[in-house]
């Protein structure tokens, strides 16, 4: 029996293990080594340079600017996304006899989440477009024509316009998660509070929010990691260019991609990848610690 068990275990585990090692674990592990070399161009030589790449990164203004943009996203993206989706979820579950058309809204709100980010990026590029775009069209039609501008061609607005698209496409997803969380809170809690004369806001603040806290912090980490890995929307909405106003939206992942695949500076680009990893892990730990609260079992 003992040996017969392994006749199944080995061939069943092997395909997954091989693929996972070759295409996931090995590249990840190798990245640490590559980041310590000045490997570049077509050469197969990997001259060891120690921590040189990391030193250079500290003085690379373009990298620091990109990282700063991720920092802005890191603050804005979770706050805005969670605020909107939590509000929607609260309206959904507290709005009386179950909101009218709840099914319809869920289907609609969730939809952008499953759409290709490339389609969304191109679509919004045209929404923001200076002449034929929907946004300027609306502004002109309601008499706010003075606000119309080339949204993606202006270095002061481009990053925030792209951020708005990210919020737009993920709000529905987080709303659905929060609705599920809110609906699993026992109604007896609310009933007891109502008997004590709690207001609707009081119910949300003192019951819903604390009991939902575990869910909220999971989502917080999720969105924070997404803010660090931000890539596709920027790449598509700047048309792959990194000059002019587009430079004002260059995020770390995009800079890494350009450094690797247009400039062939493999070692340097990989060092950026390692920095992204360290920041991701650090961020998860910090958020976990900072949002630690008493948990409530129910």
């Amino acid at each position: 029996m003992y040996y017969r068990k392994y006749r199944l275990i080995v061939p069943f585990m092997l395909p997954a293990l091989i693929l996972y090692f070759v295409f996931v674990l090995y590249p990840y592990a190798r990245a640490f080594y590559v980041s310590l070399t000045s490997w570049g161009g077509l050469s197969s030589k990997m001259p060891w340079v120690g921590l040189d790449n990391y030193h250079k990164l500290l003085n690379d203004q373009r990298f620091l600017d990109a990282l700063g943009r991720n920092g802005q996203l890191l603050i804005a993206l979770p706050l805005i996304t969670i605020a909107i989706s939590l509000t929607f979820a609260a309206l959904f579950t507290q709005g009386g006899q179950g909101v009218r058309g709840a099914g319809f809204y869920r289907v609609v709100f969730f939809f952008p989440q499953v759409m290709s980010a490339v389609v969304i990026g191109i679509l919004w590029t045209y929404v923001y477009s200076p002449n034929v775009g929907m946004l300027n069209g609306i502004l002109r039609n309601v008499g706010l024509g003075s606000l119309a501008r080339p949204w993606l061609g202006d270095s002061s607005t481009i990053l925030w316009c792209i951020l708005a698209v990210a919020v737009w496409s993920s709000v529905g997803f987080y709303m659905v998660i929060f609705v599920a969380g809110m609906q699993s809170i026992p109604t007896s809690f609310y009933e007891a509070a109502v008997l004590d004369g709690a207001s609707r806001w009081g119910l949300f603040k003192d019951i819903t929010f604390p009991l939902l806290w575990e869910t909220i912090r999971t989502c917080l980490i999720y969105i924070a990691i997404a803010a660090l890995d931000f890539f596709t929307l920027v790449q598509v909405m700047t048309g792959g260019s990194s000059t002019g106003a587009s430079r004002s939206a260059e995020v770390t992942a995009l800079y890494m991609y350009t450094t690797a695949f247009t400039k062939s500076r493999w070692g340097y680009a990989t060092a950026i990848g390692v920095v992204l990893l360290v920041l991701t892990l650090l961020l998860s730990v910090v958020i976990m610690q900072a949002t630690k609260r008493e948990t409530y079992e129910y």
Binding site: F12, L19, A31, L91, R100, G239, L276
Partner: protein
Amino acid sequence: MSVNTVQPTPTPTIEPDAELREAKSGGAQQLELAGGKQGLTTLAVITQIVLIVWAAMVIFPFLWMIMTSFKTNVDILFSPWKLPPALEWDNFNRAWVQARIGRYFLNSFIVIIMSLTGTLFVSAMAAYVLARFEFPGRSWLYYLFMAGLMFPVFLGLVPLYFVVQDLHLLGTYHGLALVYIAYSLPFTIFFLTGFFKTLPGEVAEAAIVDGANQYQVFFNVMLPMAKPGLIAMGIFNFLGQWNQYLLPLVLMPNENRYVLSEGLAFLAIQQGYANDYAALFAAMVITMVPTLVVYILFQRRLESGLTAGALKG
């Protein structure tokens, strides 16, 4: 909800509906206690207004895109707001043939057939072993796969490119499919391991008593029982792999082998010069259709599966 042709399972991760409905009706009751009739209606009206505005913000750009895909280039530029006077089906023809969206579509299709079958097959085998067999190092293996959920793809991107190149897989269908499979393993194995654990063991034991070997038990008994889980992961991975952009961008450098997302982004840049906006919008609609169909057919299942994954992953 009724569009699901597959039998729903009683696993909480997949069909939490019954539970939710119950909670919802309780919630309504609670509000009647909470506020007077007046307060309730005001809140209900505000709620509806807020929700309708957001729904419009989501739907309107998509409708605008579909409408634009049926217009002539002249109409797009000079009357972007008006409905098209006639449906320009030729836009779709130009997108499919001249802009080569048909080619990209075919590439995506070939890759996804291979990667989706592979993902489900390889993950199901590994998850089955991890869920139902005791052996030394089992939990170690499980956590090894789970570790893959934490790392950013960008970390391994450059080494991955060279691994694929060294294996002569750069720009090939099966190369991209293998990478898709590898990157889909952590979440799919995580989900399916949980799923296999919930399946009852009696049927498998009965089959062994009847003289079936371990392979027959897996293929004839366990795999059919795991169908709902496999379908959930099939939909999830279909959307993830169909919409994938970064990996093909790096691993499919040859224009002839571009997948749809990559080809569309390429087209968007080109169209800026060629000024054939109509074909570009038609191409976007073509790209959207498979996702839209899958979404509408499996919306319920997808929503609960994705959110369950997000909360546990």
